[in-house]
Symmetry: D2
Subunit: 102 residues, 4 copies
Amino acid sequence: MQELLSDFAERRDWGPFHTPKNLAMALVGEAGELAAEFQWLDPEESARVLDDPAKATAVRMEMADVFSYLLRLADVLGVDLETALREKVAINEKRFPADTSR
Amino acid sequence: MQELLSDFAERRDWGPFHTPKNLAMALVGEAGELAAEFQWLDPEESARVLDDPAKATAVRMEMADVFSYLLRLADVLGVDLETALREKVAINEKRFPADTSR
Amino acid sequence: MQELLSDFAERRDWGPFHTPKNLAMALVGEAGELAAEFQWLDPEESARVLDDPAKATAVRMEMADVFSYLLRLADVLGVDLETALREKVAINEKRFPADTSR
Amino acid sequence: MQELLSDFAERRDWGPFHTPKNLAMALVGEAGELAAEFQWLDPEESARVLDDPAKATAVRMEMADVFSYLLRLADVLGVDLETALREKVAINEKRFPADTSR
């Protein structure tokens, strides 16, 4: 997926814009748009958000935007997202022990 | 990865908190913390952000946080992130033709 | 200003949607849209962003959106923003002494 | 308030860091931290968030952070926030007519 996105950017000469700073800023902008899809929904409505086809497309495309900037940022910085996630889960296992975190 | 995160939440009875609305809110909060790591850096500094070990850990762990909430949200909603991303790239191929988007 | 916004919401029966949680979520969504206006600009371009009338309107209206949700949140929670800001500045005066924070 | 914040930044030589781009990024980062205070609360809990003194301080200080970066951004860009807000409300009066927006 990272190659697909890297190719996409390269064929448009967008490399110089894709600094880590700009990508982090784009990522939070897209995360804000994703959050906006849920802002007026109550918890139950938010669970059924994909039932409405127009809303489902909007949510899925915003999630894709967030994912694409996260992958681009990881690619540009040379961060392995899977390794980072496993490290974070290991940290959280200690920080939130299962038996006392319920 | 989604199973790992789903298990983690389940063993702590966190399921009821992981509504799509709450996960979207947590995601944008973490994206904001990730952006904060870059806010005072100029473009060149942002490209070298991993050279400082403490900063590198902070950036990697914030990226892991964003990734984990994105994966949880995808899991809870039943969204296939890879499919969504490929659809979005196809849309963007038309929206930003390579020859005119440089 | 808070009265103006409270009246606006009340005449539309939007009160039930304006929980602190929803308003905080709307605020970060709008802050994300504001950030998006700057995401591909270099520092110098960002300083001249108001020179382009279309861009100036977009930036000013996004700033107004952030301001309006911040004022609504303050109103709903009963927070005095000016007092809170003065307290925060007093805290920061100690945290970042002027002579060592240059 | 803008003078207070401008003075604070000036006495620390922070002017060069306070580009509109950096301030917009800092603003969304703080908005993300504010949202994080509410992310696991249900609507009723979010309405009572100030009842817990520690949480009240956290929420008030995050709101002050958002406000301070919004005021700094307005100052640096030369945007009059009150005028911008009145313009936006006028636009929204037309966009969401009171009698059909309930």
